[in-house]
């Protein structure tokens, strides 16, 4: 599929998908565009003094511990007031479920090391933090990385 951007100062901002048929690829692009357009781009997290608003791109991963969801940035972490399932619904596709208790920003992954048991240990760009991909989610995560970063 080709991507073409036409610059026309007199035209309103609009996105048109032109295709002879509606296939999986078109649906996927439509879904990604809809999500990107509807997403606010920032998330509200709890900080000691109240709330802090961070762009999605700053989040490395979300993780559940003791019934709380923690959002990890490069050098800090904050409690997120939403549940992991709610986050999976509202976050862009670059955040994918890697276990029942974690969501990872695939755009920030530096490397994945798989253990003999099939669990993937993820390290991130610019941080010593690690997250894990469970065996059952590995294939899906790998497909999303392939689709978003390697094509």
């Amino acid at each position: 599929m080709k991507l073409k951007i036409e610059i026309d100062p007199n035209s309103p901002k609009e996105l048109i998908l032109r295709s002879p048929v509606i296939d999986d690829e078109v649906r996927r692009v439509q879904e990604a565009l809809e999500q990107a357009l509807s997403a606010p781009g920032e998330i509200a997290l709890k900080s000691s003094s109240g709330e802090i608003f961070l762009p999605y791109a700053e989040i490395l991963f979300f993780e559940v511990s003791d019934n709380k969801v923690y959002a990890h940035t490069q050098a800090n972490c904050y409690v997120c007031p939403m549940r992991i399932a709610e986050l999976a619904d509202i976050l862009p596709r670059s955040f994918c479920r890697t276990s029942k208790s974690a969501l990872i920003n695939v755009m920030r992954i530096r490397s994945i090391v798989r253990s003999p048991t099939g669990v993937g240990e993820v390290s991130f760009n610019g941080s010593g933090k690690k997250a894990f991909i469970s065996r059952n989610y590995y294939k899906v995560v790998r497909e999303i990385i392939e689709e978003m970063r390697l094509k």
Partner: protein
Amino acid sequence: MEKHLTVKLKTKKNILVGLLLIGAAVLLILGDLGLQFKYHLETWRIVLGLLCLAIFVERLLKLRLPETVFPLAFLFMIFEPLIAQLVGSESSNLISNWTVLLAALLLTIGLEVILPEKFCGGQRSVGFERSALYLEASELADATISDHAGSTNVYVSNTDAYPGDGTIRITDNVGSIKLHLPGTWNVILEHSDNLGRVSMSEQEGEVFDQSITVKVYDNVGSVKILFD
């Protein structure tokens, strides 16, 4: 690159265990020498009693009150004949063992429910699993973590709210702990290890805005301090 630190720390627990073992040895020798006590005590009662007492004192010192009930119950059961003698009871069986155990169970559950978390093992503890623990930066004045055969990543949340000069105590038994701290914190590491490995990654900057003391007791495990 990692640097290995060799500051040694004798924990209160080591001293307590040492004193109890010495006490047990003295009592056993005195018993074998035929020294007559006012009340006769068998060796197994002394050994088991000291063990229960050690567990009781250890739990008490850690303020884990619900966990002190069962050692007390066992102490009562072990020394029941002696207590019966002391109170002048004709029977050596004051209360049925099952009643004591059931009462201990109910007391433990009751205390767990009633007492605030800091009296119920408010320290963070994990075992036999891969997990993540989170410490709130504003509560780092005195935080305790224990890991038994687990693999744990420990993070500090809301680091901007850290008041400074806190202490994190880590007990690691055959586990692996990675403690993630901000690179701008100066870490004072004190550790005592028994065939364990405690290491700290090198900090890039030389200007620190906060300071924290990390005290590690590592027993055949691995503790790493990493800077994010």
